[in-house]
Structure formats: C-alpha cells, structure tokens
Symmetry: C3
Subunit: 271 residues, 3 copies
C-alpha cells in the first residue's frame, strides 16, 4: 500500500508542537495543497508540548489507527531540526508516516505494521527552498503531498534500518505489584498509564476489585471499575480507557490535578 | 429531509468539550471518514467547558442555523457516558443532530424544527467495539457518518418522546424590570444574555435610551446602543448581538472581566 | 486572476481574532458553505491578539504566500466594525483578500502583488441580514464564497485607492548599528524582527560572527548562526528565520521569556 487518490481525495493528517496561534500549520497546509490540490487534511493535534517527542508519539499512535487505510500521517516534533537527524518516511501496512528520524513516528507505525523506512533525500519531494528551521513546511508537508498524490516511498530516498526506535517503557509485574508509567494526562485530567489488562490478569485483579495504588510517595485505596458512572462524584478509580491502557480517573474532576501527576511518573498497582 | 450526498460531499459538524490537545477529536474524524469517505467535517468548537451541557447547547444552537440544509451536527458534552443515558439522533427540518440524550442537542434542533427523535440502538451504526468512555468516537461519529452517507434516522433505533428537554431559563418582564440571565461570556468578554428586543419593547426601551442594569449587587447606568463605535473606549453598553440576544459589552475591553460576570448570573434591566 | 472553481474545489483561508471557543468561526464557515458548497476552507489562525491589526497583518502575510494561486484569503481583525470603516476586497496577482479597510490585508496583498482594491457595497455579496457587530459572517464570508465560486472583485463595488496602508516600520542601518523592531514573538518564544540579510550585509556581518544586541536597556553578546543545533541548550543566537527575517532564538527554550520581549520592542544590532 502507498498513497493513492480515491474519488474523495487522499487523506493527510498533521500532528505538531506548533500550537494554533502561529501560521506554521497553515503554511504546511498551503504547501500540501500546492503540491496535491485534491488532498484533504485533518489535524490530529498541534498541542503537543514543545519538543516532547514522547508525548507526540503517544498521541499519534492513539489517533492513527482510527483513520482509513492509505492515510498519510505527518508528525513534526523536531528539536533536532537543522542538525544531522534525517527526514524519513515509514511505509506501513495501513498507511504512511512522514517526519523526523527521532522516534516520533515509530509507535504509530508499529501499530500499523512497519514494512520499510526510507530517508527523504530526493529534492523533488521538497519545496524549492529548504530552510534550516522549518522542515515541516519545506520537506515533510510536500513529501506527504507527493505520496498522497501517488508517488512511492521508494522514490523519497534510500532505505534505512538504523532509525531511532521509540523509548517507551513497558509495564512490568514484580511479585504482587504491577509497575507502570504515566504516558499522558489528558484534558479531562485522566491519567493514562501503560498498564494493560494482561498485567492485571497476572495479579488476578478483575473489575470491581479493591486495589492499592502508590504514586508520588502516596498510597491510595481505590477500585477497578467499568464506567465513570460506577464512581461517585469526585471518587478516584481505575478504568480501562478506550485505547487499551488503564487510566486513573476521577468522576467529573481532574485526577491529574488531584494527584499532582505528570507524564513519566511511576505508578504501582496491587490487590 | 435526511442526510444526503451532494456533489461536494455531505457536511458533518462537531462540537465537544474535548479541547484540541488530546487526539479525541481526530479519532472521531478518522471514524467518520472510515465510514463515509466523502464526508466534509467542520469544527463548531471543542472548547466547551468540561461537562457544561448548557454552554454546549447554547453554542451549538448559535452555530447550527448558519449551516446548509441537510448538515449532520454531532454534539458530545456527555458527563453521563457509560450510564443508562441514551444515545440519540434528532431529525429536524433543516438537519440532523446526533449525541447524548441530555438536552445538549435540543435548543439547536428546536430552532431547526424537531420532526422525530430516535434512540440509537442498531449496532450497525456503531464501531465494532464500543467503549464505555468514548461514545463520541464509537457511536456518535459513525452514526453521523452513516446518516451523512444516506442512511435514515429511522434505521438508528426506536422513536422516543421522553427525551431530556433543555432547561434554558427564559427572560421575564416584572413591572418596570426585565429579568434575564447570562448565557455565555464570549472570548471578547461580551456578556451574552437571554434578553430580547421583545422584552425591551414591553418596557418601551429603545436604542440610545439610558438604562439601569443591576447585577452581582451592582447598579450601572448605561445605554442601549446600535454599534460598538457609538461607545467611547472602555465604555459599557447594551447592544443587540448578532444572535438576537442583547449583550453587555465594553468597547475594546472585556465587559466580563470588568463586571466579573459568569454564566448564569441574573441581570435586571430598567429604564 | 479571480476566484475560480477547480476540480478539487476553490480554497478559502480564514484569519481572525475570534479564538476557538466561540462559535463565530464556525458561523463564518457555515455562511461560506451555504453560498459556495464546494469551497474548501483552511484556518490560518484564530489566535490573533484581540484587535491587534498589526499582528494579524504579519501572520496573514507570512502564511498567504504558501497557498496556491487563486486562493481567497479572509482576514477579520476588526475593531472598527459597525463604524464607517469600509469592507473591501483586494485583487492581487496570486489571490484575493477580503476584510476590513484597516491595513490588515495590505502586507499580504503587497507580497502577492496588488492589482485593484474594491469596496464591498453590493448587497448581493452579503447575507440577507447584516448585523452591526459581525461583518466576518455577514459580509466577508459570503463575499469570499461568491468570489471563490466565480464572481469578480469588480462586482463587489466601486474601486477605491484611498485605503488604509499598513504602518509596518522598516529596519534601518545607522552607522555601525542596524535598528529593527520585534514583529512577533511566536509560540516557541522565537523573537521575529524585521531585520534582513541586506541590513547585515551593510554592516559586513556574516554567519558565525559575534554580534552585540541591545534591547530593553540590556546589552547581549551573541552570534549569528545557521541552525539551532549550532547553539548549546539555552544559548541565545540570531538566526535567519524561514520567512526571510532574522529571529532572536534560544535553543530549546523561549527567547521571548528570557529577554521579556514584546511585539514592537526596538532592537539594535552591531558587530
């Protein structure tokens, strides 16, 4: 599978840390539409914390799997822009991923099924003038547009295998404890961890069971629950989120604020 | 009228309280485009205060009437997700409204002209896996996409009549006073009330008349004016907003900040 | 050149100071799609500081040149709405610009190449009801849609030549010093000035040279550099931005916060 044009126009998604005040996202869209006028562009988010490649990788992986096959996903969280880090395209089973070689694209591409990775070296894929500070507009956007309009990842440049792999920690079970990490605190204050049902199965913990959480030097007694409405207003619980990871939530309030949690915090769970 | 495909592709609007940092809005868009690739999606807003069904209802009602006939509007401000509150579709004269049965859709649908309301029970209308926390993506988005691509509201599920009606208070005239409420304070600090020209007519108050406002225990002498430019910089006035409600405004400043007003505040107006 | 319909649908961009919470941007989009259903709408930004015509003009000028020929650009930063300031359309070589006659559109239109300017007086171009507070929705959006669908700027109203020109200051070289201004501090804290390579050439200053900056009563010794990665983390440098202006930057930090700089600040540069 590669980019293709269907009757409704090919899909390109954008994820960046540019925010929505500056004109950078619009410049990328203009560059895309100049190369591939029939492209349809969907924003994933432009609210990634500046330079936070891990957060961007998590959000892209969450969103990408809900898009149709053949979608071209562009990710730009790129603290190394202008250095020797390579621009690249990942050809995966369900779509294409375009962005910097810094791990940003990898979790999403792995979920989709990585086929090959190519460095982008072919000047034809880029705008005529390439700045040293804005590869999102000058390299990634036009490359994505060329791919969406039918060019092949193989045309971008040489195949590479030594690309940066993402450093996501995995959750582990140690004795009676599952040890996991906070991947993201969402806008509702839900604390997304990398804890899975498989981890809880190993501890024989099932829904409606009381559990103990330790985090930030605190110890909480709470429960695994099926839905928000099983919690009283303000009560904290552990709930299987829509992405397959457990989340620490607080009904109609922000668990993140209540527990003063940030991305990366270690959380331990036991029966 | 029901959803239909025209040559430019059917229109779907989205209003949520998800914000723009998380990937939730993008996941809804991916789900829509998977079901109905030719859909064109327009964001109304994703900045509704979390769980504030009333604010969402107001904003949706304001925006929906400016969209073409046949538009499918999706609203997701859904504190009861996962509980027994029903997912529903409202068939109205000028469009369709999809979301939770909690009053969110009703003011917009009433403006459009409600024809029938259907619960969404048909699994065909949903994603294969329905989470307990994210019906926006798993039920409302794919249902809207099926409707946009030609399915009928009647196919969603049984007709219901006992849906939640919205609790908007109406303005009243008591003696020499019109008593109204603050529906919304917009991004410019304009204070949108539910006061109408009919209220002021009853009090024989017309443009350029001096008036008295009482709110938050304060009493202000001000005037009804036709345009911002009739006010001096920093002056407060009452102006008929573009939505047919009077707004308390302050030229080139925020009336909301100056008067420390929040949604729900009671305002009294007299000559 | 005027608006035209190609197979993918004509392009309209939007720039406002409305923010993304209120439904105003969506109402403009609804008005556009009612008049011209095949239009494709791209947001430039809605995060312009309220009433800051200069900031809006800068951002529009930055973004517009990356869009395809024939794009219709709408700008609404309009403190004079409802007064006698005129609504207008600028016909330029690469596109059309629609908005208030307050200078907002001029830098972008000049870059594109101004051909003629027309006041919008023809009621056919507007919504049936024109409010005194929201010309973005009632005049500019439908006019842009009519232009995108093939109407001509000449149909909008009479040609005008006495439109407001933008008051951008230009950088100057005085003896050993280049004197410039801060045009914008972007979301990364990069301080965009109106200093150009021509200014530095006059002072015989080239890349990797040490330079002196004075601003806000402070004196900094720093260097002109080619890329962010030539700077140490936290180091301040002067870098040619992607828009052709020099920016004062700080690697992986906000130069704007470090130097407490705002739009309009005067900066002096010497060898």
């Amino acid at each position: 599978l590669t980019g293709r044009v269907d009757s409704a126009g090919p899909l390109i998604t954008l994820l960046t840390d540019f925010g929505l005040v500056d004109p950078y996202v619009a410049e990328m869209k203009g560059a895309i539409l100049t190369v591939c006028p029939e492209a349809r562009i969907v924003d994933v988010t432009h609210g990634v914390d500046k330079y936070d490649v891990g957060m961007g990788a998590f959000l892209l992986a969450e969103a990408a799997s809900f898009f149709p096959e053949g979608t071209v996903h562009v990710g730009v969280v790129d603290p190394g822009v202008g250095s020797s880090r390579r621009p690249m395209v990942v050809k995966a089973r369900r779509g294409l991923f375009v962005g910097p070689d810094n791990g940003l694209l990898i979790p999403a591409a792995q979920t989709s099924g990585i086929v090959t990775v190519h460095e982008i070296t072919n000047r034809f894929m880029m705008l005529p003038d390439v700045s040293s500070t804005f590869h999102g507009r000058d390299i990634f956007a036009p490359t994505a547009a060329h791919l969406a309009c039918g060019h092949l990842p193989e045309e971008c440049g040489p195949k590479v295998t030594d690309y940066v792999k993402s450093p996501y920690g995995e959750s582990v079970v140690e004795g009676k404890w599952a040890v996991c990490r906070v991947l993201h605190v969402d806008g509702f204050g839900n604390i997304v961890t990398n804890l899975t049902r498989a981890d809880l199965n190993k501890l024989h913990l099932t829904e409606n069971r009381k559990i103990i959480l330790t985090l930030n030097g605190r110890r909480l007694t709470t429960k695994i629950t099926g839905t928000f409405s099983d919690l009283r207003k303000g009560e904290i619980g552990l709930i299987l989120g829509s992405h397959g990871f457990y989340e620490i939530v607080c009904r109609e309030a922000s668990a993140g604020k209540r527990l003063r949690i940030k991305r990366g915090t270690v959380v331990r769970v036991s029966g």
